[in-house]
């Protein structure tokens, strides 16, 4: 792929946790960025050879082509149930699910709640972009009040469609959930904080402490009708107002941020 020139020191390159495949995501979509963070975290923890990822249904359905690790593709919303089986069958494996908000917060709400309640020793990477991306920008359980989508063109009306679900806060009430945090990727600083959060979440699993989840506010320039930069800014302003950033729950006892 890229040319390596003479003896210059490479200070940034593609993680061994990613394949060389070209990702299908829309220009400016942060799925690819988050894939990179997950891959780098697994590489730094030196667990690439014993990690099993579970793909969702949604934009990230083809993530098995992009992660250079063992992957399973689950039915819509069922990734935590599949991950439960993988983890219990092979306890030494590092098992994570990678799910969007349509997959996790809508059809998969039962699976995620009970996986957290059981304290399954899995890690969930939860991508919240406040709508259904792959199917055409429809309203999701996480859509903000007043947000226009293709099925709420005048903005989400709470009298008709109810209120957005704060998944992290909801799951934090369960004793089986050990580490839950909400992060964003709207700036270099936020990206680095997200990577630290992912590392903590996977470490919780490696230490056998219980269920961990990292919610990441992600952008959808295509269905928000914004430029990639505007969309990233919106994650840290509009979305973060509804979904406050930071650690929601941490009972690991290690005082991580």
């Amino acid at each position: 792929m890229t040319t390596t020139l003479c003896t210059d020191e490479q200070v940034f390159g593609r993680s061994a946790g990613l394949t060389e495949a070209r990702m299908h995501y829309c220009p400016g979509c942060t799925h690819g960025l988050i894939h990179r963070l997950v891959a780098e975290t697994l590489e730094e923890l030196d667990v690439l050879d014993r990690t099993v990822g579970v793909c969702p249904v949604g934009c990230a359905v083809f993530a098995y082509d992009y992660f250079n690790i063992d992957m399973i593709q689950a039915s819509h919303g069922r990734a935590p149930a599949v991950a439960t089986g993988a983890k219990r069958a092979v306890p030494d494996a590092v098992v994570f699910t990678y799910q969007g908000d349509g997959d996790l917060a809508s059809i998969g709400m039962a699976e995620i709640v009970h996986a957290a309640a059981r304290g399954e020793k899995i890690t969930v990477v939860f991508i919240n972009n406040s709508l259904y991306g792959m199917t055409g920008g429809q309203m999701a359980p996480t859509t903000l009040v007043g947000q226009a989508t293709t099925t709420s063109p005048l903005g989400r009306d709470p009298g008709l469609a109810g209120y957005p679900i704060r998944v992290s806060e909801l799951l934090a009430t369960l004793d089986g959930a050990v580490y839950i945090t909400r992060q964003a990727v709207g700036s270099p600083k936020a990206v680095q904080a997200t990577k630290r959060a992912l590392r903590t979440a996977f470490q919780v699993q490696l230490d056998g402490k219980g269920f961990s989840l990292v919610e990441i506010l992600s952008s959808c320039p295509t269905w928000w009708g914004q430029s990639p930069r505007e969309a990233l800014t919106w994650t840290e302003t509009g979305m973060a107002a509804q979904y406050p950033l930071g650690v929601v729950k941490d009972t690991t006892g290690s005082g991580t941020e």
């Binding site: 890229t2 210059d8 490479q10 390159g13 990702m23 400016g28």
Partner: protein, 80 residues
């Protein structure tokens, strides 16, 4: 001195790298790639410090960052 190598075939021209580059080193390539995107390009290599912010924000992981090896003492670069 530092520089970036952009995989232009993988780039989808979202241009987040150009938006976030603190020294405005990056711009748009004059040529299209095979997918029809005018990819990002290093237009001002002399300003690049290898800070990695472009690579940190690239959603398609198409930027590699290099820092030039320090020259040997004989006739080496004096600039700190």
């Amino acid at each position: 001195m530092a520089y970036v190598v952009i995989n232009k075939e993988r780039c989808k021209a979202c241009l987040l790298c150009t938006e976030f580059c603190p020294r405005q080193c990056l711009g748009v390539d004059a040529q299209m790639n095979s997918r029809g995107f005018h990819s990002a390009a290093l237009l001002h290599p002399e300003k690049c410090t290898g800070c990695r912010i472009c690579a940190l924000m690239c959603p398609d992981v198409c930027i590699d960052v290099y820092r030039e090896a320090k020259a040997e003492p004989v006739g080496g670069k004096a600039k700190a």
